[in-house]
């Protein structure tokens, strides 16, 4: 889980953040202002400062916020001047947008605010639909508007070119004021809430920001997305009453509190309408006590009433945003906030400390207990800093004046001390308060200045008994003096907390609760630091133990080997019952006895035999396999059985493993761990994989590693690859990439990047089969898809009543299997659902507004709009599921990736920087800085500016980077070096068949996904290539069963003069998804030509027809 931040504001208006990995509130020193409220998202934090203006703090990221401005230059040919800017009167503007309708000269482009800067000057784009154009970037057509081509023809009368310029958001990690609107807003803001990022992924980084003004009006900020973090304008939302507070969840929940104490729920929020359409009123939990505060998440609503009671709303989800009823919860809070994963924070009424709700899971959304977050603030250490300003406006939310008074008794005491001069500056700010500038509201609830506070304080005693009569939610501004003494308060008083950017869940390990006493004592934190074990010490004690143990063995054992053993070694047998997928037809699961017999082999290695005892027509029979013959143990978890497959070379050839099913997952893991240890023992393999190891991944995300034997590439008789021994490494990945200095990176199904830590084991491996350190928790999230199919009939239109011959109305992609919303299970018991079913609009080919795709009949190609000829339609539903496991992998936050490549360096020292490039899942090209064999995770990303999104990247010999853009164009960049890790700029490849030949192999293979056309790469090879190794994952191996899809294949006979190779050697499969052999660079050093030393290959094993549109870079990489 990446590190993320919890934001909070104390009563002095100081903004603090607490890292999920930290143990201390960090003061946001950048904030010149004091803040009243903050609302956080992952990528930014919004706040209302004491000037009642809205401020934005965009978190710095390796990925810059960059916006491409474009303008078109149009020209027409005339016989006199040739092509010139003289256009016909009926023509478009000489400078226009892409449609030609808008006049757009280059100097009309302005930076939207002072937070932006230009990245460079305007330049003409020389790339047209994936192909490089002639110099100048002109594209030609017969007339406007028409189809443009990059070649000039005899009838080309007009031409145009695209000019590009980039602007960059520069105000990172600092609070900047959102420019106020031309049509000035009527009154200052009093509450703010952001969310809505889960409604849709288009455009990227979209946020909903809701704000409430002091007059109770509500505003929605339009146009916030990744490349427009500030948004564009405010739009007023009509309301049924006056609102005091609003909360917007990550999804489509928006609730607000009315002055009168009822709650309103926004309905109609969706992908096409993030603002929603209407309000529904929900009554306060108790009829006589109104609500003052509400907080919503994805599926939860929490509320606080004026008596500080806490309420949880039952039955809330996106179909029923209003929920069904209130549940009273334990605790008394002044405010509450719901963050990511529906986690909850609150500020207690009693001690104003921030509390975290423990035990909130998707099945138990209301959580278990409140736990106080008791970590020191960094300001506590150097108190002088806290008192730079003399007067501070503080904002206290409270429901009644006496409560406000009692909440800040020390504050008021301070103020009664005369002669502090504390009222000067703050009073100027207070002039903004509506009670003075906008005329009186309810007199008790206006903002109050110092005198009024004192009056109220005086009143509060009298008002104690009549709490409800005067309680309305309120905003009261107090002025208080801040001096050193007060800055050193040992008991921080918090006013506001926001967890919208804080990613924790029930698995997270938080260090926020270190001290049971609610103190922030300096001494204590120092003690904890001195006692905690630092990595350096860790290695010291560990090393000491291992050194002493080996010394002890020498002393006590080695000299006495000739002594008689006190205990004679015997054969040890482990038995169990399992089910076996029997070898003969009809195939079915039958009950068998399974046994592993272990003994010491002649060479001292342990060896063993496995037996499967079965009954054949009442006759007892068995089959067996020697442990040293087993090449791989593959868990084949499916939704009904806990099965695994055992392969030997013979069974790999037959594509028919021994398939066994254990009764429980635990039992299967026991057996797998034991068998795996036996297999490794018999082959003398232990510890982590070597640097030369070959890594591969199955379509279930399991990771396997094989130690290459030197004979693997031997000529003319290499080791057949069905004899390779694969062992499993814990973790879950979609792709993996390595190089020969032991740097291994992986990408999960959720695009998270992971780096290999050097450990081994994890997952179900325990004890000796797993390293004790370097094993971390790993999570992965993927979508499960089902299709809703409908047929049109003349009477009722589209219905779910199909023809008798039709596919299931709820099916998988093939239509052959029925998959309803209720009967579809996660892929295996390891996965759990983490979301509800939602319509998937991201399916390839467009969809209509409801996600439907139309076709003439099943099965056919679908399109995203309805025509008269379409009789069937379908839409895809997606549901997220999550897996939590352990493995030797550490996350590289925060940028999700879709492709990664590491230079396959042969002989480098451990301190040399290794080029590592990646593509983010949005198509940005990234270069990782500081990657060495000692620090494989590197330090940070360097963003490489490009004109278009990319999908695939590969770095080859001579440090040249090759990349393919989403539109299919190929790019190349030379001389990536230590001094300039990013190299020169990425150049389009103009002449694919020039002397630098080998790169074309890569590209050819990358783009030619189907297995057959992959064989054609030799067609492009008119050049010299040294020592190429080609491994691929074949979609279908000829003459075998359906199981064989996704098979590891090794191209034999690939030689410098024969790059096409001779034949395929088939290895382990099916069900394989990805392989990388870039660690196995065993070429003799004298072959140091700028050539490709390794080719590793993989092909996605999806059965979809949409292959060519989903090339996505995992076809082949090198």
């Amino acid at each position: 889980m990446p590190i993320s931040l919890l934001w909070a504001v104390d009563v002095h208006g100081r903004v603090y953040s607490l890292s999920t990995a930290g143990q201390q509130w960090e003061r946001c020193h950048d904030a010149q202002m004091e803040f009243k409220r903050v609302t956080a998202a992952r990528q930014c934090c919004w706040g209302i400062a004491c000037d009642n203006k809205i401020y934005l703090n965009v978190h710095a990221s390796d990925l810059p916020v960059r916006y491409q401005e474009e303008a078109y230059e149009n020209q027409r040919w005339n016989p006199v001047d040739g092509f010139s800017e003289r256009l016909l009167p009926s023509d478009r503007w000489q400078w226009s947008d892409v449609t030609g309708l808008q006049h757009q000269p280059l100097d009309s482009f302005q930076l939207p605010s002072s937070s932006w800067e230009w990245e460079g000057d305007w330049y003409a784009d020389e790339n047209f639909e994936g192909e490089p154009t002639e110099k100048g970037g002109w594209t030609y057509a017969i007339d406007f508007p028409a189809t443009y081509t990059k070649d000039k023809k005899w009838n080309s009368c007009v031409r145009r070119r695209r000019w590009l310029r980039y602007r960059r958001y520069k105000a990172m990690d600092t609070w900047v004021k959102i420019p106020s609107q031309q049509t000035s807003l009527p009154d200052p803001f009093s509450d703010i809430s952001c969310g809505g990022w889960e409604i849709t992924e288009e455009p990227r980084g979209r946020l909903s920001l809701w704000a409430v003004s002091l007059q109770g009006k509500m505003w929605f900020r339009e146009g916030i997305c990744h490349h427009n973090p500030e948004g564009s304008l405010w739009e007023e939302i009509p309301l049924p009453g006056e609102v005091v507070q609003i909360s917007c969840g990550p999804g489509d929940l928006v609730w607000a509190v009315l002055w009168e104490g009822q709650l309103i729920v926004r309905e109609g929020i969706g992908r096409d309408c993030p603002k929603g359409t209407s309000w529904t009123v929900v009554d306060s939990p108790t009829p006589d006590v109104g609500a003052i505060h509400v907080a919503v998440g994805v599926n939860v609503v929490w509320a606080v009433t004026k008596d500080n009671k806490l309420w949880f709303r039952r039955g809330v989800n996106s179909h029923n945003p209003c929920g069904s009823g209130w549940l009273s919860m334990v605790g008394e809070m002044i405010m509450i906030n719901v963050g990511l994963n529906d986690q909850v924070w609150g500020i207690s009424w009693e001690d104003r400390a921030v509390y975290f709700r423990q035990g909130v899971t998707s099945s138990e959304l209301s959580g278990k207990t409140w736990k106080v977050i008791s970590v020191p603030r960094d300001g506590d250490r150097s108190q002088s800093r806290a008192s730079t300003s003399n007067g501070v406006t503080c904002y206290v939310t409270s429901d009644s004046p006496e409560e406000a008074g009692s909440a800040a008794p020390s504050v008021l005491e301070e103020e009664t001390v005369p002669g502090e001069g504390e009222v000067k500056a703050p009073c100027a700010r207070l002039a903004l308060s509506p009670s003075q500038s906008e005329g009186p509201l309810d007199p008790q609830w206006s903002n109050v200045d110092l005198e009024e506070v004192q009056v109220q304080q005086a009143q509060s005693g009298a008002l104690l008994e009549s709490a409800d009569t005067c309680s309305l939610s309120s905003v009261a501004t107090y002025t208080l003096a801040l001096d050193d003494q007060y800055g050193a308060d040992e008991h921080p008083i918090w006013a506001w907390v926001s967890g919208g950017g804080c990613s924790v869940d029930s698995h997270s390990h938080l260090n926020w609760f270190t001290s049971s006493l609610n103190t922030s004592s300096l001494v204590q934190s120092f003690q904890s630091m001195s006692l905690s074990v630092t990595p350096a010490q860790t290695t010291a004690w560990r090393r000491q133990i291992f050194e002493q143990l080996s010394e002890r063995t020498k002393k006590e054992m080695d000299n006495f080997r000739h002594y008689e053993q006190a205990i004679e070694k015997t054969v040890w047998v482990k038995k169990g019952t399992m089910q076996w997928w029997r070898d003969w037809k009809p195939h079915k699961w039958i009950d068998v006895h399974f046994a592993l017999e272990q003994f010491s082999g002649p060479d001292g290695n342990k060896d063993g035999i496995i037996f499967v005892y079965y009954n054949f027509y009442d006759e007892k029979k068995y089959l067996h396999a020697f442990i040293n013959e087993i090449t791989i143990l593959v868990p084949v978890l499916n939704d009904s059985k806990h099965t695994f497959a055992i392969y030997t070379p013979e069974r790999t050839k037959q594509r028919w493993p021994i398939r066994l099913a254990a009764a429980t997952e635990l039992e299967m893991h026991d057996w797998l761990a034991l068998l795996s240890v036996s297999c490794c023992d018999s082959r003398g393999i232990q510890g982590p994989p070597s640097k030369q190891a070959i890594w591969s991944i199955t379509c279930k995300g399991d990771i396997f590693v094989s130690e290459p034997s030197p004979r693997l590439e031997a000529m003319p008789y290499p080791t057949p690859c069905d004899q390779m021994f694969w062992r499993q490494v814990g973790g879950h990945l979609r792709m993996v990439e390595c190089n020969s200095s032991g740097i291994v990176w992986g990408i999960g199904y959720d695009h998270t990047a992971w780096v290999y830590t050097g450990g081994y084991g994890g997952g179900f491996f325990q004890g000796l089969a797993s390293s004790t350190d370097n094993i971390y928790t790993q999570t992965d999230v993927k979508n499960v898809y089902i299709y809703e199919n409908q047929r049109w009939n003349p009477v009722t239109g589209y219905t779910n009543r199909g023809l008798p011959t039709d596919r299931y109305m709820w099916s998988d992609a093939s239509g052959l299997h029925e998959c309803t919303k209720t009967n579809t299970k996660p892929p295996s018991p390891q996965w759990t659902w983490v979301s509800d079913w939602v319509v998937d609009y991201g399916v390839s080919g467009e969809t209509d507004r409801e996600g439907w795709q139309y076709a003439a009949d099943f099965p056919a190609s679908f399109h995203g709009y309805k025509t008269l000829k379409d009789f069937v339609r379908r839409r895809r539903w997606a549901r997220k599921c999550k897996l939590t496991t352990t493995g030797p992998w550490q996350e590289i936050p925060p940028i999700p990736l879709c492709d990664v490549t590491i230079l396959p360096c042969a002989d480098q020292s451990s301190v040399d920087v290794v080029p590592l490039w990646a593509i983010s899942n949005k198509g940005d090209v990234l270069c990782r800085l500081g990657v060495t064999a000692l620090t494989p995770a590197g330090s940070s990303w360097l963003h490489v500016g490009t004109d278009q999104p990319f999908k695939s990247i590969s770095i080859g010999g001579a440090s040249q980077v090759w990349a393919i853009a989403k539109d299919g164009s190929a790019f190349y960049r030379g001389s990536v070096s230590l001094q300039s890790p990013a190299g020169q700029c990425l150049l389009p490849i103009r002449r694919p068949l020039d002397q630098v030949g080998y790169y074309f192999i890569i590209i050819a293979i990358k783009r030619a996904t189907p297995f057959a056309s992959l064989l054609n790469w030799g067609h492009y090879c008119g050049f010299v290539v040294m020592a190429v190794k080609v491994w691929i994952i074949a979609d279908r191996v000829q003459g075998t069963h359906s199981l064989s899809c996704g098979t590891v294949c090794h191209r034999l006979g690939v030689q410098p003069m024969e790059p096409k190779g001779a034949s395929w050697d088939y290895g382990i499969g099916g069900g394989w998804d990805h392989i990388t052999i870039r660690g196995n660079a065993m070429d003799p050093p004298h072959i140091r030509l700028p050539s490709l030393t390794n080719l590793s290959a993989s092909a996605p094993r999806s059965p979809l027809l949409v292959r060519n549109t989903e090339v996505n870079g995992n076809a082949v990489e090198c």
Partner: protein, 253 residues
């Protein structure tokens, strides 16, 4: 005894086992050379100290002979069983009962007995057979369950440990001790000893007193005092699931 070869028997003993469990060969050996009527229950003695069979062999060695030259010569007696000092051990089932009760006691400390109670009879048998046959895999396949703990708790409930020393009459020190302090700090071997046996820690008050008075020995080695206790308990416990710590005086030479 020393002059006669058939009065000596050399054996390679596993540190983690029990004397009476691995000395069938000794018994057989002496059966051949001794008169039947002289054979009563066998017991062992080293330099005048009767050796308690119910301590693991490694503990006995570390406690009594850690700085002596190997092989470790111990004397076998077949008469005058010292009932005051030793438990009788008529059969292996007594050892099994002792071993299993230790495991159960340890699990009571670690998991409120939840793990060991969830095991079946055959699982218990597998633990015992693993020890008896010196088959680590067989033993560990079951024992690893006893070594698991919920990650969010950061360790066992209490660490099952025993501290032995030769200098006192108390057989050993055993108290409740958690792997993590209430403040969330990891307890180390040092923090355990500070509480249980402060004398074993090199004197903090006068650091110039370089001479260590005691050695803290586990499995024949001296782990650093900053070694986390939880790690020690997981990796250096004996098969009975206890962390046996021996405190012996530093040899004066």
């Amino acid at each position: 005894y020393e002059d006669e070869d058939n009065r000596k028997k050399r054996l390679l003993l596993p540190r983690v086992s029990y004397l009476t469990l691995v000395t069938d060969k000794v018994k057989k050996h002496f059966l051949k050379v001794m008169k039947q009527e002289d054979m009563e229950e066998m017991w062992f003695e080293y330099e005048g100290t009767p050796l308690k069979w119910h301590y693991p062999i490694g503990v006995l060695f570390d406690l009594h002979a850690s700085n002596t030259v190997l092989p470790w010569s111990i004397t076998v007696h077949f008469k005058n069983f010292p009932d005051r000092d030793l438990l009788r051990c008529p059969s292996h089932s007594v050892i099994e009962a002792h071993f299993m009760s230790s495991i159960k006691e340890a699990d009571a400390l670690k998991h409120k007995s939840q793990v060991v109670n969830d095991m079946q009879k055959k699982d218990h048998k597998q633990l015992w057979m693993g020890l008896q046959n010196d088959k680590f895999d067989q033993f560990w396949a079951m024992n690893r369950k006893l070594m698991e703990y919920p990650t969010e708790e950061g360790g066992f409930r209490y660490i099952p440990f025993r501290i032995y020393q030769t200098m006192s009459d108390r057989p050993f020190i055993q108290k409740l001790f958690r792997p993590v302090s209430p403040e969330g700090n990891t307890h180390t071997l040092g923090s355990l000893l500070k509480e249980m046996y402060p004398a074993a820690i090199p004197n903090e008050v006068c650091p110039d007193d370089f001479q260590k008075r005691y050695q803290v020995v586990i499995h024949g080695i001296e782990p650093l005092l900053e070694t986390p206790l939880q790690w020690l308990s997981e990796h250096l416990s004996h098969p009975d699931n206890f962390l046996h710590i021996c405190i012996v005086p530093t040899p004066t030479d």
